[in-house]
């Protein structure tokens, strides 16, 4: 608040204080004056500037014991006055400067009698004086301050500079240091405040000339400050860096240097004394200086780029920015370090540094500094070369952080080079180095055994599961590298490749890396990885660059490259690699009849073209798996790049991918699924299913052609398998044709390729069941359940009501009379009416036989036909598989009884053999088939079963029973046991399904009864129980009787004395080996009956 606005009032207010101060230089008086000053307006003070300054200067210079506080106070006063006013006289400026400097440097300054105690001035004083200096420089008008930079004032300026530098370097107090540096910055006329008017060019030039003299000292001192101990705090370092680049940027500015004449001007005579101090910034000088500065800069960069405080690093970025902007020619030698620092900081942990760094890089790129400056490009490519040379070594020795930094650097160089990167690439040795480095860094770790072991348990239980994969978003598999573990390192490498692809000559790069790809198996995976990224980069997918490339790439060019890469990838030698040892197994399997449990699905990896080395190591297989995965990822990436254009390439690309989607190795099939999803997205198909359906013609073509070659048949069947897996019923008409081809081929090669094709047939039938089956079978199940319900009710209900019992007897009597010939007329008529109702009903079966089968059923029939032949294959696996397929066939054909029955008739002999004289496993599966068959053609089978199979089964059960009863726990692992178990487990449900006659049931019951013995192994007992549980469903009464014959827990009292007493064999018997199981079964029977009874009464009660 300016209280005294006019000079007169102000004078009135200040005068007493000034007078007092002039008379007695005490701190109190100074304080008084300062208090008054606060109340004086700026305009008024301007008038009184010199008047007020005088006492203060006096106080500042006054000797005396209490000088310290006084000087400090006076300096503050000065600062206040100067801060509010403008300094108009160059003389005054120089004097004030000199006086203030003198305060800082007692002993050398003008004050003649320095107090000994004051030699090391206090920090407060120094601070006050420095601030006063700062104010002084700021208060000086433009022209006035410029006078400081005239040669005559050079010594004074130099004095001030050296003092300030001394403070910055040697002072302890942080505040003082920073102030000194700020002041120095102001002295160079490079402070950030806005009050200064912009200097004209010639004025700038003059400043530059003046400061050139101090440059060595300033730069050395500042670099010492910058590289000094970290304890000095970041503020100092930041300020020092800032002053450093301001000064260097001023003195070494390209603009100024360009204007310097070659030779030194003759100094005018009167200036000759001081002009010795002045420097001529000629070419020699600038070259020398640049060399020296380069050393300093390098030290600074090295030190500050790893400084722990981010502000220092940020300031370093500013330094680079400033110097690159102003001194790109003069300091070109230092750029190696500067750009290295800049590029290295791109991935700084601090986001502010990062973004600023990016801005600066962006700026550099935008200015096309590199593009238009060959020297800079050379520097960069030289850096790149040396880095690429060192890269493998660094990758070996550094930790992940170090690697990250190194690679960031590489990326940065590439980005900075931008389109100029082709200079580097065109040099063979550069390209060689770079690519070899990439090859080495990207080396994968192929020691993991799990990759090889993880199998897709395809055709069996995994059927539903694998469909889920299709939903997953296709993304890259996580890779494991030999030289690094962190994902971000890989991302950097990816980015490096992409940037290369973005700027580089695509043909050259693709050609080079294709060369590496085919050069050695060592490089193959890496080269493929690089190629994938190159293409992505060339298309501009996921590249983060600083500047647009000059010519955007032609789609046709990319397409050409992609086509050639695809061709190479899907070449037989690169696509059909040994990824599992199954291949050998299958080939041996033909001669050796395996009887092991291993139910490997289909063993589909048949003999591959590059004949597998018998001693394939896990490592090789792992490596092969990765190679295929990378190639698959490549296909996905290419699709993403080309978008809908890729549809044309589907012709050749889709088939191999589907082939791999059906691969047994989990990793491969998953990757291939991912690729399919990628392709779907790229070519804008709605789903994988859509993709397959719409391109089924290409696939079918491939399948049909490949089926013609033995070696390719497994692949072809894999493709078909995958198609079936991932599509729906609408696919069927499209592939019907080729399925016929498969069947034809199978017909020609029953011996060798059966297992291959069975996989397909299985998938086919499973697909048919899925597409056409469920509705039918559901309906069937419902019907069956209903039948059973009504059946049991029918059995039970007569027992419920007395009327019905009565009715039964009445009917019985009448029937007997009829049989004896006692006919009553009335009953006759009723009987006649009934039959005609049933007659006109058209027999369903006839019409069904004539109508052509739906195609899926026809296929099932065709497949079943083949199964008949294959049921007696030598190989157990094949037989098991065939039984599985057969079961599915039966399920599909289920609704078409007229076709199923003849087929069942033909299958029967072979099936019987499986059931009675085969491996237990086969027996078990054959039972399953039998049960499925029984659901449809119960009547058809009943007779045959009881004739062909039952006797053998029961007799074997009976004959084996003593053996198993005696045996110890090891028996559980024998084949005999498994066979017993299989039969017992299957028999019960079979009896029920086939609705067998009483005598057969008795046979079964007799044979199984001995297995209820407690001496039998537990599992067999349980299985036997299950048989009886089933029998209970079929015929509860006889089962009850049978069980009670063995053991009868209750006594049955006849309800009336006229009835004979109930006598059962089991009554009153001692507890024996059968007791436990029989009692258990009887209890269950009781439960079942009572529950049915309840259901019956509930149903009956409303009526």
């Amino acid at each position: 608040m300016a209280v005294f606005a006019t000079p007169r009032e102000a004078f009135g207010a200040l005068r007493p204080a000034c007078v007092r101060l002039t008379q007695a230089q005490t701190a109190e008086n100074v304080a008084l004056l300062r208090a008054r000053l606060a109340a004086v307006g700026a305009a008024a003070l301007q008038e009184l500037q010199e008047y007020v300054l005088f006492p203060l200067r006096l106080a500042l210079a006054s000797p005396g014991p209490r000088r310290e506080r006084l000087a400090q106070s006076a300096a503050r006063g000065l600062a206040a006055v100067l801060g509010a006013t403008r300094l108009r006289g160059p003389e005054l400026l120089r004097e004030l400067l000199a006086e203030l400097c003198a305060c800082l440097a007692p002993g050398t300054g003008p004050p003649p009698a320095p107090a000994p105690a004051a030699a090391p001035a206090s920090e407060e004083l120094k601070l006050a004086v420095v601030e006063a200096l700062h104010a002084l420089i700021h208060s000086a008008d433009g022209d006035v301050i410029l006078s400081l930079y005239q040669p005559p004032a050079l010594h004074l300026l130099g004095f001030a500079v050296s003092l300030l530098l001394g403070l910055a370097e040697r002072e302890r107090a942080k505040q003082v240091k920073i102030s000194a540096l700020k002041c120095l910055q102001a002295l160079v006329l490079r402070c950030e405040c806005q009050q200064h008017r912009r200097l004209r060019e010639d004025e700038e030039q003059q400043c530059g000339d003046s400061f050139a003299s101090f440059l060595p000292g300033v730069s050395l001192a500042l670099s010492r400050v910058i590289t000094a101990d970290i304890k000095q705090g970041h503020g100092t370092t930041v300020a020092a860096i800032r002053v450093f680049y301001r000064v260097v940027g001023l003195v070494m500015a390209d603009e100024q240097l360009a204007r310097i004449p070659e030779n030194k001007e003759k100094p005018s005579v009167e200036q000759s004394g001081v002009s010795k101090l002045a420097v001529h910034r000629g070419p020699d000088w600038s070259k020398n200086t640049a060399e020296k500065l380069s050393l300093l800069l390098r030290k600074i960069v090295e030190r500050s780029s790893v400084h722990s405080h981010w502000k220092v690093r940020l300031e370093l970025v500013e330094l680079v920015h400033h110097l690159v902007r102003n001194c790109r020619q003069s300091l070109v030698d230092s750029f190696t370090h500067l750009l290295k620092a800049l590029v290295g900081l791109v991935n700084d942990e601090n986001s502010e540094v990062q973004s600023r760094c990016n801005e600066v890089l962006q700026h550099i790129a935008e200015q096309q500094l590199v593009a238009h400056n060959r020297a800079l490009a050379d520097v960069l490519s030289e850096n790149l070369h040396s880095l690429a040379t060192a890269l493998p070594r660094l990758m070996n020795s550094q930790d992940d952080t170090g690697k990250f930094a190194t690679l960031s650097l590489l990326l940065g160089y590439l980005k900075l080079l931008g389109p100029k990167v082709n200079i580097v690439l065109n040099s063979a040795s550069h390209l060689q180095r770079l690519s070899k480095a990439l090859m080495q860094v990207l080396e994968l770790d192929v020691t993991d055994v799990k990759i090889v072991e993880d199998r897709r348990w395809g055709s069996g239980s995994g059927y539903e599961g694998s469909l889920q994969h299709g939903v997953q978003k296709g993304r890259c598999q996580k890779k494991y590298f030999r030289f690094f573990t962190e994902e971000k390192v890989f991302q950097l490498l990816q980015q490096i490749c992409r940037v290369l692809g973005y700027y580089g000559n695509l043909y050259l790069l693709v050609d080079h890396f294709m060369g590496l790809y085919s050069e050695s198996a060592m490089y193959r995976k890496q080269a493929a990885m690089v190629l994938n990224e190159l293409i992505a980069g060339a298309a501009g997918v996921g590249v983060d660059v600083l500047q647009e490339r000059e010519v955007s790439l032609d789609v046709d060019d990319i397409k050409g490259s992609i086509t050639s890469i695809l061709d190479e990838y899907t070449d037989q030698a690169n696509w059909y690699l040994v990824t599992s040892i199954d291949a050998e197994e299958t080939s041996h399997e033909l001669s050796v009849n395996h009887s092991g449990l291993a139910a490997l699905p289909g063993a589909a990896c048949g003999s591959v073209l590059p004949s597998p080395d018998p001693r394939v190591t896990t490592r090789t297989m792992n490596s092969n798996i990765w190679q295929i995965c990378i190639q698959l990822e490549g296909v996905g990436c290419f699709a993403a790049v080309l978008g809908k254009e890729f549809r044309l390439l589907l012709l050749s690309a889709l088939y191999p991918v589907l082939e791999k989607a059906g691969d047994k190795t989990l990793l491969i099939s998953e990757t291939a699924m991912g690729t399919l999803v990628d392709i779907c997205e790229a070519c804008s198909y709605d789903s994988v299913q859509c993709l397959i359906n719409e391109n089924s013609d290409y696939l079918v073509n491939g399948i049909s052609l490949n089926l013609r070659h033995l070696a390719h048949q497994p692949h072809a069947s894999q493709v078909l398998d995958t198609m079936l897996r991932h599509s729906d019923a609408s696919l069927l008409p499209l592939v019907e044709d080729v399925i016929q081809d498969v069947l034809l081929t199978l017909d020609q090669l029953y011996d060798h390729q059966a297992s291959t094709f069975l996989g397909v047939l299985y998938s086919l039938m499973a697909a048919l069941v899925k597409w056409f089956g469920p509705s039918c079978s559901e309906e069937h199940r419902r019907r069956q359940a209903a039948e059973r319900q009504s059946g049991t009710l029918a059995q039970v209900q007569p027992a419920i009501t007395r009327q019905e019992v009565e009715q039964f007897f009445l009917d019985y009597v009448r029937q007997k009379q009829v049989a004896e010939g006692n006919l009553s007329d009335s009953g006759d008529e009723e009987a006649d009416e009934v039959p005609p109702v049933a007659k006109p009903e058209p027999s369903n079966s006839d019409t069904e036989g004539e109508t052509p089968l739906p195609s899926h059923a026809q296929l099932a029939k065709d497949v079943m036909e083949r199964c008949i032949h294959l049921l007696s294959d030598r190989n157990l696996r094949v037989r098991l598989k065939v039984l599985d397929v057969l079961e599915l066939c039966v399920t599909v054909l289920h609704p078409h009884g007229n076709h199923l029955l003849p087929m069942a008739h033909r299958v029967w002999p072979a099936l019987v053999t499986r059931l009675i004289s085969d491996d237990p496993l086969a027996v078990l599966r054959a039972f399953k088939v039998l049960c499925t068959l029984a659901q449809t053609c119960g009547d058809f089978l009943r007779q045959r079963f009881s004739k062909d199979i039952l006797p053998k089964l029961t007799s074997s059960l009976l004959s084996q029973a003593p053996a198993s009863a005696r045996a110890g726990p090891v028996y559980n692992h024998t084949l005999a046991f498994k066979l017993q178990l299989a039969v017992l487990q299957g028999l019960g449900s079979l009896c029920e399904k086939l609705d067998m006659g009483e005598s057969d049931l008795n046979k079964v019951a007799d044979a199984c009864l001995i297995y209820l013995s407690a001496k039998q192994p537990m599992k067999l007992q349980e299985a036997a129980q299950s048989v009886f549980l089933h029998l209970m469903h079929v015929d509860p009464d006889s089962t009850w009787l049978l069980l009670n014959e063995v053991c009868c827990p209750h006594l049955y009292e006849p309800p009336h004395t006229s009835l004979q007493p109930v006598k059962l064999h089991g009554m009153g018997k001692q507890r024996n080996e059968f007791t436990d199981n029989v009692l258990l079964l009887l209890e269950k029977l009781q439960q079942q009956e009572s529950s049915v009874l309840q259901a019956g009464t509930q149903e009956a009660s409303p009526a």
Partner: protein
């Protein structure tokens, strides 16, 4: 030991009927994709894009009656097709149109395929079986005016014409017609006089197909027997048997000499396509892919010899495309 016969380069499926006629049109400039026309038993003409290997268009103009002959007139925009509905249609396919511009009613019920010959710019001759059983009629297109009707002498008992081939030695010379008849003879007709120049009795069975090389003045014909007959035309315009070639299996439904006159292909009833060297009739390859009678074979007219293909259409609804002997 010669290399095993190759696989088809690809197979076109989706005609859903037996294929009876094929014709390539690959002569266009770069942006044009090579095209294959196929005529099938269900009366559809499919236009196959050989780049995507898919049907671009399906033309329906023969009332679901079998199409037995397709031929283009100057590029792929004008198409002639002959159907068993006794019509020959002229299609306008330019700019995506699929309309019948014109049609000729042949009144012939036979199987005889037509033959087309360009005699001048914008002027064609077309030979076709006529209403009377043993007659051949030659029309000028596009005016549809009858040039002549070729009727064998009374009592010649040639039977129906089975196959026709119009040709001329060079652009200015008189067009001539070769026709194969039901009785196994091949007859050379002079169109302007409308009379027989020469007759050669070369098969026991009806002549199913013939092709003629006007440069070497040599032709080949096949019938339902196991023999291929090669005959030549001497200076006196007389046909004479040059040599015969015995086949393993009987029945040739189509014979085509490649435009460069180096090889020829036959479509066999034994499901196989046979390739011979034209000069000495050296058997070169037996292409085995189809699972039913092969009805027709056709060579592509692509400008680039390496992309010249062979197509064969079969009763099994498939068209197999082969890339063979492109280097010779």
């Amino acid at each position: 030991m010669a290399a095993p016969p190759p696989d088809p380069q690809f197979v076109l499926r989706g005609t859903s009927a037996a294929v009876h006629a094929l014709h390539f049109s690959c002569g266009g400039q770069e942006p044009d994709v090579p095209i294959l026309f196929s005529g099938s038993e269900n009366g559809l003409i499919n236009v196959w894009n050989l780049k995507t290997r898919r049907v671009d268009k399906a033309l329906d103009g023969h009332g679901r009656k079998s199409v037995c002959w397709v031929e283009t007139m100057d590029g792929k925009d004008r198409l002639l097709s002959q159907g068993r509905d006794q019509r020959i249609c002229l299609w306008d396919l330019a700019e995506g149109r699929t309309s019948v511009m014109d049609s000729v009613f042949t009144e012939s019920v036979g199987f005889c395929r037509c033959s087309l010959l360009k005699v001048a710019q914008g002027r064609w001759l077309m030979a076709m079986a006529a209403k009377a059983l043993d007659e051949v009629q030659v029309l000028e297109l596009p005016s549809k005016t009858s040039v002549c009707t070729l009727k064998p002498e009374a009592g010649a008992k040639l039977g129906m014409p089975m196959c026709l081939k119009l040709w001329q030695i060079n652009c200015d010379s008189q067009p001539l017609l070769l026709s194969g008849y039901e009785d196994g003879s091949v007859v050379l007709w002079n169109l302007s006089m409308g009379k027989v120049l020469s007759q050669l009795f070369c098969h026991q069975e009806p002549v199913m197909s013939l092709d003629f090389d006007s440069e070497k003045a040599k032709g080949i014909s096949g019938s339902s027997e196991k023999v291929l007959s090669i005959w030549s035309l001497n200076e006196q315009q007389n046909l004479q048997v040059h040599t015969t070639h015995r086949l393993v299996n009987a029945g040739i439904s189509d014979i085509t000499i490649r435009p460069d006159k180096k090889i020829l292909a036959t479509a066999g009833w034994d499901h196989r396509i046979r390739v011979f060297g034209w000069k000495k009739l050296k058997p070169l390859a037996v292409l085995d892919y189809h699972t039913a009678t092969v009805h027709c074979v056709s060579f592509s007219d692509h400008k680039n010899p390496s992309e010249r293909l062979l197509a064969a259409g079969s009763k099994d609804h498939r068209i197999s495309i082969w890339s063979i002997y492109t280097q010779t």
